[in-house]
Symmetry: C2
Subunit: 492 residues, 2 copies
Amino acid sequence: MTAFDDLMAFQHETEALSQVSMRLGWDQETMMPRGAAHQRAEEMAALESVLHRRRTDPRLGDWLGAIDDDLLDETGRAQMRHIRRSYTRATRLPETLSAEIARVTSRAQGIWAEARAADDVAHFLPTLREVVRLKREEAAALAMGGDLYDALLDDYEPGATAGALAAMFDRMRPRLVGLRERIMGSGRAPAPLSGHFPEAGQMALSREVATHFGYDWRHGRLDFSVHPFTSGSGTDVRITTRVDETEPLGSLYSTLHETGHGAYEQGIDPAYGLTPLGAGVSMGVHESQSRIFENQLGRSRAFCSWLFGRMAEVFGTAGAAEADAFYAAVNRVHSGHIRTESDEVHYNLHIMLRFDLERDLIAGRLEVEDLEEAWNTRFEADFGVAVDRPRNGLLQDVHWSVGLFGYFPTYTLGNVYAGCLYQALRAAVPTLDADLARGHAEPATTWLRSEVQRSGGLYEPAETIRRACGFAPTEAPLLDYLDAKFGEIYGL
Amino acid sequence: MTAFDDLMAFQHETEALSQVSMRLGWDQETMMPRGAAHQRAEEMAALESVLHRRRTDPRLGDWLGAIDDDLLDETGRAQMRHIRRSYTRATRLPETLSAEIARVTSRAQGIWAEARAADDVAHFLPTLREVVRLKREEAAALAMGGDLYDALLDDYEPGATAGALAAMFDRMRPRLVGLRERIMGSGRAPAPLSGHFPEAGQMALSREVATHFGYDWRHGRLDFSVHPFTSGSGTDVRITTRVDETEPLGSLYSTLHETGHGAYEQGIDPAYGLTPLGAGVSMGVHESQSRIFENQLGRSRAFCSWLFGRMAEVFGTAGAAEADAFYAAVNRVHSGHIRTESDEVHYNLHIMLRFDLERDLIAGRLEVEDLEEAWNTRFEADFGVAVDRPRNGLLQDVHWSVGLFGYFPTYTLGNVYAGCLYQALRAAVPTLDADLARGHAEPATTWLRSEVQRSGGLYEPAETIRRACGFAPTEAPLLDYLDAKFGEIYGL
């Protein structure tokens, strides 16, 4: 056994324990009895404490010091890159802080769900204040004098900085605002779908569509949760959705979104299982897969024409009189409150709002007491309507309750990457529209698997996208796609 | 912090991690995608390895050496008794063996399920051979020259020995055989229930009955599994059942059985949560709770009279024309193949069969190749009918696949304890029959909670029963109860 072999054996066990943590997280959101929340927080804290000790184990330092990366092959060097990054981050975090964050966020998530159900911001704020305080502490320990927010962002998108993202957002915003204004001034206002769409039919359709997009049920399952998510890597990758019987698109496109995340994890080379390369390389790349499944493929005119017919079969109505009206309803641009129900034009404005607020929270420029007012003011300015109730505003997302600060901007980065990939995909799969018009996305998802998903953590995030597309990722393809698509729908 | 405080803090984290292992086990049987089995085995092995290192941590030895139990209160001394016993057992087991057992049994359970579904003994035997080999190794490491089987038994029933159990079985067997023969010669043969009992109704009724028996849904849930079980302690105690639409009693009484196990865990003093006292004290005492729920209460004439009416409401038929016939059907004595569907008279004969076979396997007097023949021969001798297919014989129970050797006899010990407790309960709750005739068992289950369940691991198993009953447990009350009950039903 060389030091590298010893290190990889140790890492294998750590990865397995991380997967256990995934299972617990999934259970908490889908199956756990309500009264078990406090004990579960203790269980999560104990496991997080074990993981933290492993991630900071002095033997890791010894192995990392003993291994000459230049003597390894490409895969080995990539493994080392991940392990070195993780070790550096972990050794900067005190174990007590790590365990406290696990305990507090586990509890906070339950309190957030109660507050959301009751539309009661005050019920959530004391806990959120505690989470923000702990995340500031975490950021300070990680940043070592650098930017606090960048230190958190780096955990989700290695190599990205708030400055570079803000610059990209600045380039995107005028075009998005311009597009939005032209749409709102177009005089066209497609009707939303109407009708009743029973839960059982929605779930059956969700399963069917996930299957057509290549989701592997032998290694996954679909359940309900308050907020849809994907959990797990390797051969156990589970997705969730939520259902509203008056509005079938929310559930269906949530499922397609999570199917993209799930297909990414399921599509990684099995040889990387339970190693640092065996999971999606960053949240931005992850989101590129969920977004291209959901939007560029799922909300295409071709796929919508199939979906229109299939929904009519399943529910007796697709909720619109004809395929054109259905496609316009699926892509209806509206100044709605909920990020996850947002259209492709407004979506990135939701992200920019959260990005700015959470940067201010972490920097200490904004206090939790003032957050709701800041949210509501900014929302009205950007979207032209007021927040009507907290569950449609500050309480809509689970992220902050579980300590995900620095995560939101990766959604827009994912959209940007999806725009690039879609341009390359159209060139690589000329039958794309014909496939989608039959409800089948497998030629497209097979290309994504071989060009993006299969490599797992082998390359850095931006390099992963560059290799698939043949060019360095920029925001231009996404913006061009949006202009063309919505220009056509709204006759601009 | 004293050494005792340090020890209890360490133990708290260990108990929390043990609960994590419970969640994983539950998930594996109820929710896990089929293709995740191999990865799950790695996850379980990693967690088991962590737990084993904690259970053998040298600091435990230091703390145990530094603490003078005589200076502690009764609770503290009981905690120490559990921790010392666990440490002694754990330090005798090599970590590699412990991890290998976790890995092999996790896989073996899936193979057993496949073999059972396909009625294919040969598919299971190579894995079972491996499990037996590992359990012999485990027993040898634990026994240190003593009896191998006793060493395994001690894990489930501290203080019990195979010799003492065999002696008790020898006293019980003639009376059970005599009762069985009188019943079979009585000329009475109550008809089983007939009809169709849809799954949804069975599950609704199972939930209703569990509620009436005091199961706490805030801290538990009911799902399907191949083999019903109870999982977890403290505030997260889950039960499972299985449903056959042609035979409603199997599901209902399985649920009642697991409700007894679950109520025990839920009934333990919350102050003992995530400590060694916070779980049922032994499998025998656990089984006393499941058995008294299922049999002495659930199969009583009084409760059956309520159930007869309720089933007629739920299903349109109770499967029998009148309450007397229903009660006789519920308590029908028949030489059936399946232990979990067995009647109270034959049940302990099932146990004695398994007890003798597994003692011989562990002692090396019987090889796995010869197990099916040994099972079938013994079964025909004891029950008067032949085994018709492996799933009705050797493949019916999950236990051996997951390494549970030394567990079966605790079922009969539980029956014996239930007999004792029922005698005491009738004296303590004079309204018992009237309560049960209204479908309500809560006065009885409240007595069990305060007299047996609440104390958790505070007293040794036999002492737990003695304190509740006021006398040292013997087999006589169970046998007297069986003679009286079945004498009346069969007119003996």
